[in-house]
Amino acid sequence: MQSQIEDNYLISACLAGDETAFGKLYDKYVASIYRYIVWRVASPDTAHDLTAEVFLKAWQHLISSEKEIENFKAWLYRIAANLVIDHYRKKAHDYLSLDETAWENMVDRSFNLEDEISQREDAKVIYRAMELLSAEQKDLLFMKYGDDLSVKEIAQITGKSTGTIRVALHRAVKALKIILKGKQ
């Protein structure tokens, strides 16, 4: 709630003429939006481009729309989600149809080779755990445990009710547990 009030204040400030206010919003959310996107498109370069587009679209909408934004964070994620869907549409690929090598590409290119190798192994493990899940289930699990979003935020981003999200998440976790047990 406090974060929402701060966001609303920063939005008011940037509309009042304080250019740095939107910069502060950018600093606050750029890493999490990038992470949301890169885990879904599996290419850091594409993720960088799409992240930049998210903030540009957000700014353009802020200055042109009369509608007050209730939850800036959720709204930003919605823009990111729509851009990712558009990305898959253009590539004519199924949503979240990522392969193992794609996952390895998402890993931070560390100067520490040992670190990088360890991360690639972790990414492979996650990929293998999730490959049998549906795109929707993968998305939900990423949002809950990867992006650290609450059920309410996920509901606001997806446009569904919190009840629906809660049930869907429960089913996704159940499915994943069965898969993980089967792989043991």
């Binding site: 009030i5 304080d18 042109s64 996650i126 047990k181």
Partner: protein
Amino acid sequence: MNFYGYKKTLIYLRSRTKPGADWQIRQKELLLAEIRRSPIWQAPAALPAAGSFFLPFIYFFKSTTAAILVVVVIFSGFITTVSAARASLPGDVFYPIKISLEKAQIGLAFSGEKKAELEMAFAGTRLNEVNELIKREAGSPEGSAHIKEAMAHFNEGMSALQARLKNVKTASLSTLVNDTTLVLEDNLLAIKGKIGETSLDKALETVDETNTNSLAMIVATAISSPNNDAKQEALAKLQTKVQRIEKKIDKIKAAVAASEPVAGQEPAILPNNDQSALASSVSSLLLDKNGDQGASTSREVLRQIVKGSQNMPNEVKKSLEDAKKILEQKDPSKLDDVLSIVKDAGYKINDILK
């Protein structure tokens, strides 16, 4: 791997997945450049065509001419005019429109919290204007007048914010006001450092008062709330306030040490206006009654007043030490005690700074 291991791995990967640092900086610069290019305000296309909706708001405006201009601007959709207004500074033709448009924005906001957010945002805009005026008109008589005009609007906005804070007693707004007033105070001090403008003193006092009022609300919320986070936040905010007052004390002491002492005497803190007025009236009274004897007695009175001022920072510092000891105990039941000390210390130090 089990589900716990999966979660742990994902959380670990989360911490390691981030955009390139160089890209982040570069992208931010590009974004801010784009923001500077675009018109911040556009004519609100969604407003109903019927003028009667807008008429009540005209009565909020002090300047009838500006009010008429605002209505004309909005219904004609003069984006250029709005952009020119946004970029204007005190003394510019469009500045009254800018102020009126801001008031219209506040008037049109539905919730008290939204109005308060806008008031804080516009207070920041006033200080940005002052900084622009310093660059543009440094040292000129018109510049000084324009700065005073910006500060008058600033003070008006802060007074409105103070009144609103009394009515909108939410914890989140109190925290936002508390944080924002600290930023405003720092900006005001930076401006004062550049130009030494005395019209800023009133603004500094108002901002400090608003900050203290918001702190009082945070403490009140913390005391009545079973939530431990609220209590911890109140403790942290009180600690910040104590540190800031201590910094002011150090500045006062440094200023006193830097001032040249009269030979054979310790450097003294100059009495503020109230104390000088008091000394002056006492002097007059004593001189009237006692002639020369009155003159030496009045000097003694002045010395006592100055001595009191000299000791004040140390006394305040001592009371703050007591506050810090209470804060160290992290005892939420004593928040009110610390608040009282902080309020008292703040008033005394602001008195000296005048």
